[in-house]
């Protein structure tokens, strides 16, 4: 049937061939998932919008190099996640953490203009807010993996492809992220005297052991 909607790959090819609306259609088709990934990975609307813009302009330019080895959505997600992680790395020297109401601690050089803004569309119970805060405290790589697997529902294999790492690494990042969240959310209550169960953010043994165990390379 000629009425069949164009596939993602067809749209991307059409874009490369010069069809002016093809890429925008691709964006519209996947906008919410891409937005969700960026928003949950960065925890800030403005940052997410900036990262998405960087990513989409990059994809727009690089479309001709897409070889079809993976799905177009996988390719797009990879570019978006990488743009998000790049932003996280760039701001690591001045970390910002979303506040409960979605406001940010702004660095001195970024304080102008932006006021309090919800980190995400409002939801109807407090749990989501608490979870969102806890998620924001995870290392970015763990957060990105959890967002893709547990929030977006991608398989471990797909996420491995998106992130460009081994499946074992995705499993490890997700598992460690969940364990950290378990502590942060109070599901796992460590004995105060047992540093090994310390809250990761307090720098207990978990942190040091994590640093050692994270030398997993491409596992």
């Amino acid at each position: 049937m000629s009425d069949r909607p164009a596939s993602d790959e067809e749209l991307l090819r059409a874009h490369v061939a010069g069809e002016p609306e093809a890429f925008a259609e691709l964006l519209r088709r996947h906008r919410d998932r891409l937005w969700s990934v960026a928003l949950r990975t960065l925890g800030d609307r403005e940052e997410a919008a900036d990262a998405l813009q960087d990513a989409l302009l990059s994809a727009h330019r690089a479309a001709g190099r897409f070889r079809g080895d993976s799905a177009v959505t996988t390719w797009l997600h990879r570019i978006v996640v990488n743009a998000c992680l790049d932003r996280v790395r760039r701001r690591q020297s001045h970390p910002t953490v979303p506040l409960p109401d979605g406001t940010r601690h702004f660095d001195q050089d970024s304080a102008g203009g932006a006021g309090p803004e919800p980190a995400a569309p409002p939801v109807d119970h407090d749990t989501a807010l608490v979870v969102r805060q806890a998620l924001a405290q995870l290392p970015a790589e763990q957060r990105a993996a959890l967002v893709l697997v547990d929030l977006q529902g991608y398989s471990v294999a797909e996420v491995a492809e998106i992130l460009g790492v081994a499946e074992g690494t995705v499993k490890s990042r997700c598992a460690r992220g969940r364990a950290r969240l378990a502590v942060l959310l109070g599901h796992l209550r460590p004995d105060p005297g047992d540093a090994a169960y310390g809250n990761p953010s307090t720098g207990g043994n978990v942190t040091s052991q994590s640093a050692r165990a994270t030398q997993e390379g491409g596992r």
Partner: protein
């Protein structure tokens, strides 16, 4: 929770999460869990806790994340700008507010903001049931605005000012052939699927029937601010700046609706730009932009 010895939570998590499957570490952790009460207890607690976390993550409701319209508009505008640059259609930059300086006095000279109603349903029968329904939903506000719109046109009629046409209202080409755009209030509820074509169609009809005066849906209340020439000038300047085309000519302004919300729909030579009611206050308040059909 007490433990006789330290439990490596990350290692335990790796084991529970399957990251150690098939490795010697998995067997080592299994032995610890079997032999060491602290590890055994930690294994049971951590497994349950990690499962609870999965449930918690479900409350975030990723499926509820919808890209805000302003973000989508911004992204589409950025893509449009890049596309235009790549296709070499960028108009040489001119002083940023050149056109704006002209519009305000020209519009002010007209003394009124002239509006035209073109009868949305008559023009676009294919625009669909959803649009008609939405128009009906917004109809009360539109109808309430009609008397004010009528005041703007002086006599309640809805004459048209066409670009480049000398009219009895005093609009004319200025010395540098830059012209005031026709400003209409069609009452149309545009959709992103149709705005490219329909906006061109509005302009065609408007130009073809410069004295058309049919039923006017009126200016949506939130857009009333933009019936002030200075406010509209600021809005158009913001749009053109965002489009990286500060010197381009506006071909049509429709104070209408877009996907149900009041919106300024602006036709540029090859782009349709849709802005919200705050257009010009701090920026273009972009809702959507796309290339015009056939551009």
């Amino acid at each position: 929770m007490t433990h006789g010895r330290g439990v490596d939570l990350d290692l335990l998590a790796d084991y529970i999460g399957g990251a150690l499957d098939g490795t010697p570490e998995a067997a080592a952790v299994e032995r610890l869990i079997a032999d060491d009460p602290a590890w055994s207890r930690a294994y049971a607690q951590t497994s349950a806790a990690m499962e609870a976390v999965r449930v918690d993550l479900g409350t975030l409701g990723a499926d509820r994340d919808q890209m805000p319209a302003e973000v989508l508009g911004r992204l589409e505008a950025a893509l449009t700008a890049v596309r235009r640059q790549e296709s070499g259609t960028v108009v040489p930059l001119a002083p940023r507010r050149r056109w704006v300086r002209r519009l305000a006095p020209v519009a002010a000279a007209a003394g009124v903001l002239v509006l035209v109603g073109l009868g949305a349903t008559a023009l676009w029968p294919e625009s669909g049931r959803q649009d008609v329904a939405t128009n009906a939903g917004g109809g009360a506000a539109d109808r309430a605005a009609v008397p004010d719109a009528a005041k703007l046109s002086g006599d309640g009629r809805a004459p048209l000012i066409a670009p480049g046409e000398g009219t009895s209202q005093g609009l004319r080409k200025d010395a540098e052939s830059d012209v005031a755009p026709p400003i209409v209030a069609t009452g149309t509820n545009y959709r992103r699927e149709t705005v490219r074509r329909l906006t061109s169609e509005v302009r065609t009809k408007a130009l073809a029937a410069p004295q058309a005066s049919t039923q006017m849906s009126g200016v949506p209340e939130p857009l009333r601010r933009l019936t002030d020439p200075a406010a509209l000038s600021a809005c158009l300047a913001a749009i053109k700046a965002a489009d990286a085309q500060p010197a381009t000519q506006v071909r049509l302004v429709d104070l209408a609706r877009f996907e149900g919300s009041p919106a300024v729909v602006v036709l540029l030579p090859d782009v349709v730009w849709v802005s919200g009611a705050n257009c010009g206050l701090t920026g273009p308040d972009t809702r959507y932009s796309t290339r015009t059909e056939g551009s």
